[in-house]
């Protein structure tokens, strides 16, 4: 099945922030210069975007890990993975604690309040809870304080993670779960009071976003897409602006090993 009548690659992305328009208009211009015709369609949530991909309305979807594994499941593992950001590899989630909460081991979380991010955020909710359970924490004995601030965006905005950190700061939670990107960049920007908040634990690594396509995508489109994408270069000012907005320094080839834990977590939590 051909998804569009001409050579234009139709890409779907979720508009989790106004800058998404800037990013994809810039990348579209870059693709044009590389001789690859590309246009984009913005969705308000990943569920709608995955549906559009499945129906063939778009060629490629820029997907969160949750959307990625769902596409793989719906295509019975035959979907094509086309690329990811350097920053999508070896992601970890953190359990951070208030230093005055007296939490020094994972099981100290029993009976305490744990702030967590959006219910569809891989890094701030699904995987940290899964890994905590694997590490012996009985979640039934932990009081969860959820921040469902950007449901449908799979945690892209980071707002639920910032809310988790704010809850710790204000003392309404004893501990919280955040992705390490937010944790490290908030620290590097000087916005964390390390006298107040500390890391308790880092989860095992997992991978994040992925460009997904149906198995039926035209091979020419795949080749043009990957060639133009991987030609983006951090040292090029026009590219760098876009890469910085999208939160990466380099586009990387796809790899699949980093999504096994998410599949297991979705099984365990019944979130498919």
């Amino acid at each position: 099945m051909s998804t569009s009548s001409d050579d234009t690659i139709l890409l779907g992305a979720v508009a989790y922030d106004p800058r998404v328009v800037t990013i994809w208009e810039g990348i579209r211009d870059h693709f044009q210069q590389e001789g690859a015709s590309m246009d984009f369609i913005l969705f308000s949530n990943y569920e709608r975007q995955v549906d559009a991909l499945m129906r063939g309305h778009i060629d490629i979807a820029w997907n969160t890990p949750l959307a990625h594994v769902r596409v793989q499941r719906r295509t019975e593992g035959r979907s094509r993975s086309l690329g990811m950001r350097d920053s999508d590899r070896d992601f970890r989630a953190r359990v951070v604690v208030r230093r005055d909460a007296g939490i020094s081991t994972l099981t100290d979380l029993h009976g305490r309040t744990l702030a967590v991010g959006s219910r569809d955020s891989t890094q701030a909710r699904i995987l940290p809870l899964y890994f905590l359970e694997q590490a012996g924490v009985d979640l039934a004995r932990v009081k969860l304080l959820p921040f469902d601030t950007d449901v449908g965006r799979h945690g892209d905005t980071g707002t639920s993670e910032l809310a988790v950190l704010q809850a710790l700061r204000e003392g309404v939670a004893d501990a919280g779960t955040v992705g390490d990107l937010v944790w490290v960049t908030e620290q590097a920007a000087g916005r964390i009071d390390t006298a107040l908040i500390d890391t308790l634990w880092a989860t095992p690594p997992f991978d994040h976003c992925m460009f997904d396509a149906l198995p039926t995508i035209d091979e020419g489109k795949v080749a043009r897409f990957q060639k133009a994408l991987f030609a983006m270069n951090w040292e090029n000012p026009a590219h760098r602006r876009l890469l910085e907005l999208e939160g990466l320094k380099q586009w990387m080839p796809p790899r699949e090993a980093g999504y096994a834990s998410l599949r297991a977590a979705l099984d365990r939590q019944g979130l498919w």
Partner: protein
């Protein structure tokens, strides 16, 4: 994990957390290293074992792992990544400050130690000359990016002189020493002051238009122009104060002046504008200010003409230096100048000095309105025109034009003087 045998740089982070200040030690230490160079970070903060690798991943440094020192402290090894390296050589190895007490620390000293580059990159933005510039900055709309078209070597000295010579129009002019002059003479002074102020307003606006075009690598040029703008501001202030100080008030603005100054304001090229404004216009004004100084009927007028002339001489000096420098590198300039002057002459319909200005200068030089005094004043005015013509030709020759060309251009110069 391939662990490098030796770290080139080592720091001790104590118990600092990544977000607790440690990066203020790590980032400058990494900056000392070339890509691949290894930094050892001693730490007693266990959180770093997770946070440092995560930070390295975000920043594209290579994290080689952690070892335990003999005393139990962690020793993390990080190799500097290759992304985002600032361009340019580290400015180090010289300390410029003067050694002797009271010695001036001049911009010229700095310029000779950190000379202008031949060309400047618009992507370096407002980075000061000598700064190492991270890649990926946006392109700035600076259009004056070549040393030879912009920045004569003596500009820093002229800037130093200008800063040292600043005066205060509120304080430094003997305003209380303006006597009650005969009405016609006071009116003449006020008219001359009006004319000077109008022309100086254009001399404030014209260079100001070029400042944002100057690449900051040649900041001394922009800085000199800033002193020039401050000079013009002071002159406008002082001239208008003098026009009002004796009771006659501000006089008439002539259409000739307006036509002439618009052509200056519309000049698009910095070198052409500098030629028209500083060399031809302000050069001619030097002779006008000398004339006013010579015939000043009161001490305030004399003092402000003298001070303004000294400032203008600096502007002319810069204009000439700029021109000589540009001419040496662009042999097509004399022909362009001639075209510009001809085009300008064609746009100014009047061919004589504005009548009110002519009359005011005549009365000023006469010092009185008796026919015999006016006859002397008239002669003086004619003499001024001749002095101006000779001065222009001399300055143009001085700038590097040949005699014939200098005379042609002088002849075509605006009857408005500026």
């Amino acid at each position: 994990m391939s662990t490098p045998a030796n770290a080139a740089v080592a720091i001790d982070g104590g118990e600092l957390a990544l977000g607790g200040g440690l990066l203020a030690l790590v980032r400058p230490a990494l900056d000392l290293l070339a890509p691949g160079g290894v930094l050892a970070i001693r730490s007693r903060n266990a959180g770093l074992r997770d946070d440092l690798p995560a930070w390295c991943r975000v920043e594209h440094h290579d994290y080689f792992g952690v070892e335990r020192d003999a005393d139990g402290a962690d020793r993390h090894l990080v190799a500097r990544g290759g992304l985002g390296l600032p361009a340019g050589r580290r400015e180090a190895g010289f300390a410029l400050a003067p050694s002797a007490e009271g010695e001036r620390f001049t911009a010229a000293t700095v310029l000779s130690a950190v000379p202008f580059p031949e060309r400047a990159d618009p992507h370096s933005g407002f980075a000061p000359r000598g700064a190492r510039v991270e890649p990926g900055g946006p392109r700035y709309p600076f259009t004056l990016t070549e040393r030879d078209r912009l920045a004569p070597p003596e500009v820093a000295q002229l800037y130093d002189q200008a800063v040292a010579a600043h005066w205060d129009a509120a304080r430094d002019i003997p305003w209380a020493k303006i006597p009650r002059l005969p009405r016609a003479l006071e009116a003449a002074v006020a008219q001359v002051m009006t004319f000077l102020a109008e022309n100086e307003l254009s001399a404030l606006y014209v260079p100001a238009r070029f400042v944002p075009q100057i690449h900051p690598a040649y900041a001394e040029v922009a800085m000199f122009l800033a002193t020039q703008l401050a000079d013009e501001a002071r002159h406008i202030d002082a001239f208008l104060k003098r026009a009002r100080a004796g009771g006659a008030g501000v006089g008439i603005s002539a259409a000739t002046t307006s036509h002439s100054l618009l052509t200056l304001l519309e000049a698009r090229d910095f070198t052409e504008a500098s030629f028209l404004l500083s060399v031809l216009g302000e050069g001619t004004f030097l002779d006008l200010l000398s004339f006013i100084e010579k015939h000043a009927p009161d001490e305030a007028t004399l003092e402000l003409a003298r001070r303004a002339r000294r400032d203008e001489a600096r502007h002319v000096h810069f204009g000439l230096a700029h021109l000589r420098h540009a001419l040496a590198h662009d042999p097509s300039l004399p022909a362009r100048f001639e075209a510009v002057v001809r085009e300008r002459a064609a746009r100014i319909p009047q061919k004589a000095v504005p009548a009110h200005v002519q009359d005011a200068l005549t009365v000023l030089a006469a010092g009185d309105v008796t026919p015999s005094a006016i006859a002397r004043g008239h002669e003086a005015f004619r003499g001024l025109l001749e002095t101006m013509r000779e001065g222009r030709v001399k300055r143009l020759e001085n700038a590097g034009l040949d005699r014939e060309q200098a005379e042609r251009l002088s002849e075509l110069h605006t009857p408005n003087f500026m």
